[in-house]
């Protein structure tokens, strides 16, 4: 055999090895990761003491083989930024989103998910304006109507006649339809007289609100979301003036920061939530403990929804669905999705219904 033969033989062997390596690499390489934009408020942690992105980080750390590649998107929960942020992500090829922003942001971004170009799972926007549409905007929490009706029905069970309702004007997309639904339901149910007081929660001034609150009320309902800590200050003032009166909050106040700010009033706060209390749900309690161990703080309830949304997408991707249409079909085709933090059952338009828990032992929740 001449040296030329040896050279060509070596080259052939090299090529065969290269081809085999490519085949093996393609065969055994991890599935291509799919970018998922997590639309949240980057500074929320500094403001409300919890970050949704951390929930995403925890999920990926606990699911290293997941096909999800998380892409943090900060719309600062400002409606004017939400659509550009999402559109920018879509422009770079992101077709799946999870959003934690409030309803006023969701409403403006809704057109972006009218077609199969992108799919969004929302876990914090309860505006009824988002409900009942056969689009690619899915929502894993009940809408505000269901929420408020549940709260009204709960309140109806409480003694008293005069109810002070403080409606946050900072997020009218949520609070307006919510108050309407609440008021209608409560009116339908009977005995409570509502004193409606709109205010911007972030601009709460005790001296301004004290005269009204000093009036005789049997209960307070703070219709505000977005985990604003001032909710705790408001609750304290009311509790200071009416030590025995119950204080109802929305599910979007299930935040340790709010409860800590509430001081003694925490004993009178009633917290509605689509999720059960930590005491009642060991899985939820375990999740919060893991979260605290990893990031050093107590997370707010929105992290539960983030986790559930990620699990749904991961499951869809694992089933081979990698297009928004396929993912939607998969998610809607399964009657009930059992996530690690509770079941989710979509209706045909991608909305969910559900029951509410009313948590009263909030000191336990804070531990």
């Amino acid at each position: 055999m001449t040296r030329r033969h040896v050279f060509w033989l070596a080259l052939l062997v090299l090529l065969v090895l290269l081809a085999a390596s490519l085949v093996l690499w393609r065969q055994f390489r991890s599935a291509e990761r799919i970018p998922v934009g997590l639309v949240a408020w980057a500074a929320s942690g500094a403001v409300v003491g919890s970050r949704e992105w951390n929930a995403g980080d925890l999920f990926l750390e606990e699911h290293p083989n997941s096909r999800i590649r998380l892409l943090p998107l900060d719309d600062e929960w400002k409606p004017d930024k939400t659509a550009p942020v999402i559109q920018g992500a879509k422009d770079v090829g992101v077709r799946f989103f999870i959003a934690t922003h409030p309803s006023n942001c969701a409403v403006v971004s809704l057109p972006l998910f009218a077609d199969p170009g992108a799919l969004l799972i929302n876990l914090a926007s309860t505006s009824p304006a988002l409900s009942g549409q056969d689009d690619f905007f899915l929502r894993i929490i009940p809408d505000a109507v269901q929420e408020q009706q549940a709260i009204a029905r709960y309140l109806h069970q409480l003694p008293g006649q005069r109810l002070l309702v403080l409606q946050d004007t900072g997020n009218p997309a949520y609070t307006d339809p919510a108050f309407a639904a609440f008021a209608a339901e409560l009116a339908a149910l009977g005995h409570w007289q509502i004193v409606h007081r709109p205010l911007r929660v972030t601009e709460f001034k005790p001296d301004d609100e004290r005269p009204l609150m000093a009036e005789p009320f049997d209960a307070l309902y703070i219709l505000a979301g977005s985990f604003q800590t001032a909710i705790g200050n408001i609750a304290q003032l009311f509790h200071y003036l009416h030590p025995q009166a119950p204080i109802l909050l929305t599910p979007w106040a299930r935040s340790p920061a709010i409860l800590e700010t509430a001081g003694d009033a925490v004993d009178r706060i009633i917290l509605p939530s689509p999720y059960r209390s930590r005491r009642q749900d060991p899985a939820l309690d375990n999740y919060f403990r893991r979260f605290h161990a990893r990031f050093g703080y107590e997370a707010h309830a929105m992290t539960i929804g983030v986790r559930q949304a990620l699990e749904l997408l991961d499951r869809a991707f694992a089933q081979g669905a990698s297009e928004p249409l396929a993912v939607k079909r998969f998610l809607l085709s399964v009657p009930v999705h059992q996530t690690s933090l509770g079941p989710i059952a979509f209706d045909r338009t991608g909305d969910v219904g559900g029951s509410y828990s009313f948590i009263t032992d909030l000191k336990q929740e804070l531990q």
């Binding site: 980057a42 500074a43 929320s44 942690g45 500094a46 403001v47 003491g49 970050r51 951390n54 980080d57 900060d74 601009e203 709460f204 001034k205 005790p206 001296d207 004290r210 800590t229 001032a230 705790g232 200050n233 304290q236 003032l237 200071y240 340790p256 920061a257 409860l259 800590e260 700010t261 509430a262 001081g263 003694d264 009033a265 925490v266 990893r294 990031f295 050093g296 703080y297 804070l366």
Partner: protein, 949 residues
Amino acid sequence: MTWARRTTFWRYNLFLEVVSLALASAILFAGIWFTLNRINQDYLDLRLADAARVHVFLESQLDEARAGLATFADLPATQRSPQVMKLFTAFSDIYCLDRALRVVQIHKAVPNSKVFTGFSFSGGKLASYLQSVGESTDASEILRGYEDDAPSVYIGIHRGDEFCMGRLNLDYVRKFLIQFSQFSGAPLMLTASDGFVMLSGDPALQLPAIDLKRWVETPNASRTLTTGNRRWIPLIAPTGAIGARIVMLVPTEFLDTQRNTLLAFGLAFMSGWFLLVVLKNHRLNRLVMQPLRAFAGKLRDLELGKLRTADADADQRFTELVEIHTRFRAMAEAIKQREQALRDSEKQYRIITESMKDVVWIFDMETRHFLYLSPSIEELVGVTPQDYLAAPFGALLTPQVTDQLQLLWGQRAAVLLSGGSKPGQSYVDEVLHPHRDGTLIWTEVVSTYWLNEETGHVEVRGVSRDIRERKQAQEALFIAKQQAEEANKAKSTFLSNMSHEIRTPLNAILGFAQVLIRDPHLTAPQRDSLTTIQRGGEHLLALINDILDMAKIEAGRMSVQVVPFDLIQLLSETEGLFQQRARDRGLNLTFALSAIPRGVIGDAQKLRQILINLVGNAIKFTRAGGIILKVEPAGAEQFRFSVNDTGVGIAPEEMMRLFEPFSQTASGRELQGGTGLGLALSYQFVRLMGGQLSAQSSLGQGSCFAFTLPLPAAAGAETGTDQARRAVLGLEPGQPVCRVLIVDDLPDNRAPLRALLESLNPQPPVIECREAADGREAVALWEAWQPHVIFMDMRMPVLSGEAATRRIKARAATRPAAVRSVIVALTAGAFDENREQVLASGCDAFTRKPFQAEELFGMLERLAGLRFRRAGDAPPPPDVSPEDLIRRLSASPADWQAEFKQAVGLGDFGHMEALLERIRDDDAILHETLARWAYDYDLEALAAVFKLG
């Protein structure tokens, strides 16, 4: 040493360059990496130390605030006016709390504070701090203020029942952080324990939180976070008194620049190096490799014979290449000259090879093909060299020859390969090669075997020669040889038979003569008659012996009997033999011996025969003067014998044929005596004994015969005794009886021997004889009679003497009590080898027929222990001078003289003896002298006397 992989120097050099480049790159970049790591780590440690120093500032702020709050607490309530409160600039808010941590009084508050009188601080981390005030913690963690969600640090202090709490005004801290960040270029941040950024030195940097668990590890330049489109290295200082984590974001630009600079340097360095390598290899290729390739091309041209040595030298850059070039030119010129010489030589060899009749060829054992055949093959076998080379091996040979050659050549090649033979060892074979015309040609093949170093094949190089004529000559020679051998064999057989046939009757004649002559009662005429018979028989026997000796010499069957003997005695006996004759002829016989040993080793019988012959001739051919026999040393254990006479001499033309058998000189023919065998036998005997008989002669002046013999000294020579020379008269009486068995198939042979032995007996007899006619009868008699001595004829019917001897000896060996018979072989055979054969069969002694009585007596005395009676010494021969002899002869009767002279002239010895008897009583001396000459058949002496007379 051989390299498994061979490459070009240029490639190998390039490989080394690339390897060194890669190695240097690795070392350089490892060094850069190490340096960068070290620099980065030092830099980051420095920046981390800077961050940690912020705590000093914060603690000083905290100390001031604590002192201020203490001052406030010490103020009476009446003095805590708003104006006074403004002085406590360290605090934005000051409260008095009850034990339930509820605000009792607000002394100072930020505008739009959400805290109000009655507000409870009982929740969260602040409550934990407030409950521990006064124990160990100096301030709360940094947290979102209850008043306005702004980052806040609270300090509490107890004064009596009063519990005061102030919220630090962190504006100064924020400004410090901003200024520090701007000054250092590394944004400084204060984070809560959960990582949320509370105060940032760079507000424009949108970094709401730091994953403390992730970044708290030892900072590393490779671990960066990206925010604000820049990459940062987070440095997290240890927790200080303020309860906040200080995070410094070190921009990576500096480190990146540093790294990029070093990498750029490294890349530039390596690029430069690479360029240098490329340039160097380019120059190397141009200045060294190309000349070397050109040189290789010239070598190839040289190999192909195309090189023109007259080419001009190339312009070389390096002296080494110039030297190589110059040397190469010289070498090429030398090779050219040698090639020319080689071509000339090859041409000459080719001319020789192609012109010679012999076929030169080379055969490859591996391929089994001829590599070369000279043109003469066509003449030899009728096939052209081209056809022969094209034909497969064996196609032009007979299958038998092909097989034989393959086997033979294969074996020799194997021997060569195994080292059993040296290259070039030649072999000669005769091969029968078929000619194209169908005939077969005998060829002689001289072949040598070589290992071709280049091919590794064994090559047979040979020359084939037509040997048809030689083969024919050989065949003729072979036939002639066979015929000669057959003739020789027939001659030997004839001689043997003749010897036997002559000796057998001679045995009876001489035997009985010896018996009868011993009879003391014989009359003188009877004795003379018997003596004549005996002498005539002995003369006949001597003649036969000479003829047989000559025949044996010619047949190469004459051997030398080397035994120790007494040289001086032998010479003395010889002298004794001739002294009288010499005197009778008036000659002086002198034996001159000088420094010779007595005992020597040699063939005494032949030496005696030579000396008798030479001295006898000298006396015979010398009329006057003398004869001198000289014996003298001639070197180590060699002796020169010379016989000088003053005789008639030999003519020069006769000298050439002097030693030829049956040739006689003119003087010899004149004397009409002798057989012409004497000198021939002497010459051959001397030659057999290792010498050379030479003769010098001058006609009319005399002759000298001389020879030199090797005669090694013997330890002790066997000497004869006087007794041996004395005549045996008979056996001594009184001896034990000795039984003698005579075995011979011929009664005529048995009878004289028996008569001889019995004539020895005294009274009572000692010897008792019996006879057997063949071997079987002898064995039977041995069994029955147990003879002491057996005279065994060897050639007998029924059972030969040899076979009978073997049987007797074999039986005697198995029977210890049996008589150990002495067996004496008697043979009439012609050749000496009979002796060895006979003795090998077990005989104790050997003698020829006709037997010699004295010899037999000696054997009986020596082997059988018989004792003999011997006569006294015989009276010395009469010392008579030629003149006295002539006078005595003249005194004898004239008719007697005439009759005797006539008898001498006729050589009629019988008549001579009869005539001599007539004068025995008248002149005993004359009788004795003439009788001895007649007895010796010395006609010359006899004739000389009458010529003188």
